[in-house]
Symmetry: C2
Subunit: 335 residues, 2 copies
């Protein structure tokens, strides 16, 4: 039997456990050229909230009753495709189901001896690709300037921070809480870290950014950004990679309207803001793997991961990303 | 004697008449290579507020006691420079003074037979250059899409609208009040106009933008933009040219904070936002003149101008740009 976790309802605002449902279906029979695999590792990522549907998003969404989406690592259990043998490891996009069938075109064969399998969901998967693409292909950042990344202790942010450090930028990471700050300062070796949960957050920003911001990688959104944006230098370049604090918000916040201020900063400091979406740029994935694989296997790019046992834990694990309890480690569910 | 209007005080928020002062100084003696000219036409433009100093701007500002800045047209009265003869017409950057001396490097000789002298301050001057650069060099806009320009009845906006129409875009102009809308619809021949002062503004936006916005030229800022930004198409491109409604604001507005919404729209629709500043790109001025001069002299680009008599009217004329009474015509003070 194929156990699936499907979308039961479209959430408004924060996702809930009741938005998911477990169903069991027969494992489909293999046609010519097809591969059957069993998923053993499931990636948990913030953008999965968007796959569930979002009033503020034009993202392609999962249909009600369809399995929740996301990358996985699986083991081939049967094959009618000469390119895949039983026992091969594959990275797939088959989402939250224990088994899946593919014609092989969307599978990436993995070598468990070359790098741990979990890296195919982390620094050598979509997570790393997001960090790499966002720091490589969206803008041309001049080395030597100050690069600020929010969500810096997270899977994408920490990879972006390390990549930019390797490329000769002064890297400042923003994260919340002493554990994440210690990780940034002691383990990642970036130049400075700012704790947005600290009472002296604004003073830290001023202290750590005497020369302003030349490049900005936005993972978070929310009330941190209006404080940071004041430090944009002329011709600063910003990449919007994610807005985790905003993507569950059904209503806009009330208070000071910072939109005119951002437009004014763009106007007077010639800030260039862009975004990107990995589904549209997967043609650069081989170039990413070529650059990143040695960096990851040689330990130049460090990563943290946390494994959660049990396929049925997938929904609850996803929700931890949005309730502020998440450690920042890449979450991987094992089945 | 050289009569000057100098900056007497730095305004906070809206500029006032008391921020200016008239002074008289001796006309400087000419050195070798220098030209003395008498200014006869003075350009009035929104960015001049920024030259006075602005809490939200890093713009180079006029020193207290120095003549207010801005382009002028003058007549050469004495010359120690072989390139300029007495009686020649020149466009200069000499600002609010009746007479000025230059070594000629910042002067552009004008041919009054080729185009009216006032066009050197309007469609063939910095105004037209701003519209041309902002629609030509900042982004690459694909013809065929919908181009929206705010402040569309103004000097920069109307030129941008006509240029984009000539280049094969569907052009939608946003302006305030029936007179400006009639000008846009009847005289400029653009595809549609939206009256932001009308009670059915939001309905007009929906009605006129069934296919969304592909390119956006922002001249205005303020509460119009959050309504329009909801109609950004994927990969929309936005140029921030000006924020006339915001540039006098000392305090940010209170109410709904639209900043997270803009970041979300950038994120999910891959909106690319850029700005530019003409002082840094004057090397493209000859290319601008080559393209625009025949368009203006052949009537393909229409322009409206309003002349105000009297050098001492300069401050009061500038202030009309910001109090909502301005017709949208290019204002030129004659001395």
């Amino acid at each position: 039997m194929n156990r699936q976790i499907v979308l039961a309802a479209r959430p408004e605002g924060m996702a809930r456990l009741s938005d998911f449902k477990v169903v069991e279906t027969a494992t489909p029979a293999l046609k010519e050229g097809e591969v059957l695999f069993r998923n053993i590792l499931f990636s948990i990522d913030p953008y999965q909230r968007n796959l569930m549907g979002n009033g503020s998003s034009e993202w392609p969404t999962i249909g009600i009753g369809d399995p929740m989406g996301g990358p996985t690592v699986g083991i081939v259990e049967a094959s009618n495709n000469a390119a895949f043998a039983v026992g091969d490891h594959v990275q797939s996009w088959s989402g939250w189901q224990t088994h899946a069938v593919s014609d092989g075109t969307d599978l990436r064969k993995l070598d468990p001896a070359a790098a741990p399998l979990s890296t195919a969901l982390g620094p050598l998967g979509l997570t790393g690709f997001t960090a790499w693409y966002g720091t490589t292909k969206v803008h041309t950042f001049k080395p030597g300037g100050t690069f600020v990344v929010t969500g810096a202790a997270g899977a994408v942010g920490s990879t972006a921070a390390q990549l930019m450090k390797l490329r000769g930028h002064r890297v400042v990471g923003v994260a919340g809480g002493p554990d994440k700050i210690a990780f940034l300062e002691n383990e990642l070796g970036i130049d400075a870290a700012i704790d947005y949960k600290a009472v002296d957050f604004k003073e830290q920003v001023v202290h750590v950014l005497p020369d302003g911001i030349d490049a900005f990688f936005e993972n978070v959104g929310g009330p941190i950004f209006p404080v940071l944006m004041e430090h944009f230098n002329p011709h600063a370049k910003m990449v919007v990679c994610g807005t985790i604090s905003d993507c569950s918000d059904a209503e806009l916040p009330q208070g000071t309207n910072y939109l005119p201020r951002l437009i004014t900063l763009i106007h007077y400091r010639f800030v260039d803001i862009k975004a990107f979406a990995t589904p549209y740029v997967m043609d650069t994935f081989p170039a990413f793997l070529a650059e990143m694989t040695p960096l990851v296997t040689n330990g130049k790019i460090k990563y943290r991961e946390e494994f959660i046992d049990g396929f049925d834990k997938l929904p609850a694990t996803l929700l931890t990303l949005f309730n502020g309890t998440h450690s920042g480690k890449k979450l991987i569910v094992k089945a």
